[in-house]
């Protein structure tokens, strides 16, 4: 009798936890996106006006599209840099391999806000990057093109999110059976041939899912655009964030959030499908 009661309590509890932490907040968030703001008050009348507003104002969907493009660039540059790094680490042997991968993951745990802050100092007019470029005569004088614009956001995001792309690529390389690689070289294939016909195809699903997760991270980041983007560095998440701050329009913020949510969900599902395609 007592046991039955405990069991029932546990079932309720197990369902209640995700309910309270996820289902209710997300449900409420969807509901809010259909409400309106009138005279600084939230009016609970159901309508699609927030969504219509988004699709009818080029400023909003233009920012949305340019943000998607920015995130694409972050992911592509991330893979172009991250793949060679992951491959190099994977080729090392014994403890060196694990030490290296650890060193490349550690920055993930090193204060996100601090990284943005230092990137701003590095990219600034009087920053290290400009000093370096002037010193090696690439630039005649310090340039403002690296700070307070979309380029600054791109560079900062790539630096911050790179470990997120190196790790999944490394893990998918680790899963490739060593005998496939050995067989390839026994049959006379060089490094490049093996890379092209064995390693690249087998690590592709992991690479794609890593790139997609990085895309989602870049999509949801609103601090980087605010810190290094300056007045011109608006991204979609920064627009959403402003609805909960100065602009104070929660229903519109919620509607824009739903659009972000749907996009992110679509990408995460794609990433899940990509990693299921893995052949090893």
């Amino acid at each position: 009798m007592n046991y039955q009661l405990t069991r029932f309590a546990i079932i309720i509890f197990v369902i209640a936890v995700p309910g309270v932490l996820v289902i209710f907040p997300i449900g409420n968030f969807f509901l809010m996106s259909f409400w309106q703001m009138e005279n600084n008050q939230i009016v609970k009348i159901f309508s699609f006006s927030n969504y219509l507003y988004f699709f009818s104002s080029p400023a909003y969907w233009g920012t949305f599209l340019s943000t998607l493009y920015l995130c694409l660039k972050v992911s592509v540059i991330g893979v172009l840099v991250g793949y060679p790094v992951a491959y190099f680490i994977w080729k090392r042997k014994g403890w060196l391999k694990y030490l290296l991968i650890l060193l490349f993951i550690l920055p993930l745990f090193m204060s996100y806000i601090v990284k943005i802050y230092t990137m701003r100092a590095i990219l600034d007019l009087s920053g290290i990057l400009n000093k370096l470029l002037v010193a090696i005569h690439i630039l005649q004088e310090p340039s403002r093109q690296f700070i307070y614009n979309q380029t600054a956001i791109l560079i900062t995001m790539v630096v911050i999110f790179l470990p997120f792309i190196i790790l999944p690529i490394f893990l998918s390389l680790e899963r490739i059976p060593k005998n496939l690689v050995n067989a390839s070289s026994d049959l006379g294939a060089g490094t490049l041939t093996t890379l092209r016909h064995i390693i690249l195809p087998l690590s592709l699903p992991g690479t794609i899912s890593g790139a997609l997760f990085t895309f989602v991270l870049a999509l949801g980041d609103f601090v980087t655009p605010q810190m290094v983007g300056g007045p011109n560095g608006f991204t979609f998440s920064r627009v959403i964030w402003s609805q909960f701050g100065l602009a104070y329009n929660w229903p519109l913020g919620a509607a824009l959030g739903v659009i972000l949510f749907t996009t992110a969900l679509f990408i995460i599902i794609s990433a899940g499908l990509a990693s299921q395609q893995s052949k090893v």
Binding site: F29, P84, L106, M110, S111, I113, L260
Partner: protein, 267 residues
């Protein structure tokens, strides 16, 4: 001869990219630590005046001290609650054959997979609706939702590696369910729970994007840093930053070593 040369060249090329990436990843961290010790101004860097002065000044700053206290308190409470929830959820899902197993798992991972801005704003609007004022409690709930995924994953993996016959044997010998948990299950789970807690603590310590929605007047270290940076650059910030980096670094190293070693082996 030709082939060996190409392979060497590829290797050198990759090594250069890797070294370059390493420098870029660590540059923000190193630059910060240097400037917290060495004063600099428009005229340049004054290497000879290096000191720990800014560190001492930091500890006289009331608002910084209270931010540190709040961050640690929030982290510890969130991790304890999340650990408790993770163990119950994992035991239920793995051994009791939960009805909505897939759904529950998906919901547990949800705040971790979704962009933090979604978790942040949905919790903000929800708390506003049910009338919980923003502050430590709302941050704790947000952090609990976030780190639950990590703890759940680690506990579940450990549980899967454990033999259920041990539990049956314990029950056959007359142990109550609580005794079985205390003497059979818990010792098996403990390494995973410790690793998970350290990892979760590191995540909570650094969490910004969810926290900023839920904080109200409460300030955590990341929020405090963000605020200080808007105002301007001071060596004091660099000192705080270096301490923050050091703490995160130590927690990450502990978690990494534990994940690699056989007692804490998870994934």
């Amino acid at each position: 001869m030709y082939k060996i040369n190409t392979e060497r060249l590829i290797d050198i090329f990759l090594a250069v990219i890797t070294a370059g990436t390493f420098l870029v990843l660590y540059m923000p961290i190193v630059v910060n630590s240097i400037f917290s010790l060495v004063p600099s101004d428009r005229k340049g860097i004054h290497w000879e005046e290096a000191s720990f002065e800014w560190y001492w000044r930091l500890f006289e700053n009331e608002s910084v001290i209270s931010a540190i206290k709040a961050t640690l308190l929030i982290g510890v409470i969130a991790v304890v609650i999340a650990t408790f929830l993770a163990i119950i959820l994992a035991l239920y899902v793995e051994w009791e054959g939960a009805v909505f197993r897939r759904t529950i798992e998906l919901l547990v991972y949800f705040p971790f997979l979704m962009p933090p801005i979604i978790t942040g704003l949905s919790l903000l609007m929800y708390f506003d609706r049910i009338g919980i004022p923003r502050g430590e409690i709302t941050i704790i709930i947000g952090h609990t939702a976030l780190v639950l995924a990590v703890l759940y994953r680690l506990v579940l993996t450990r549980l899967r590696a454990m033999q259920y016959t041990l539990v049956e044997a314990s029950a056959d010998l007359g142990a109550t369910r609580l005794q079985t948990f205390r003497y059979v299950v818990w010792p098996q789970l403990r390494p995973a729970v410790i690793t998970g807690s350290v990892l979760a603590m590191a995540i909570s310590f650094d969490e910004t994007l969810i926290t900023v929605f839920l904080a109200g007047d409460t300030t955590t270290i990341p929020l405090r840093l963000w605020g200080m940076m808007r105002v301007g650059f001071k060596p004091e910030i660099n000192a705080l930053v270096t301490i923050v980096l050091l703490v995160s670094f130590i927690m990450a190293i502990i978690a990494a070593i534990r994940l690699k070693s056989p007692e804490g082996n998870e994934e």
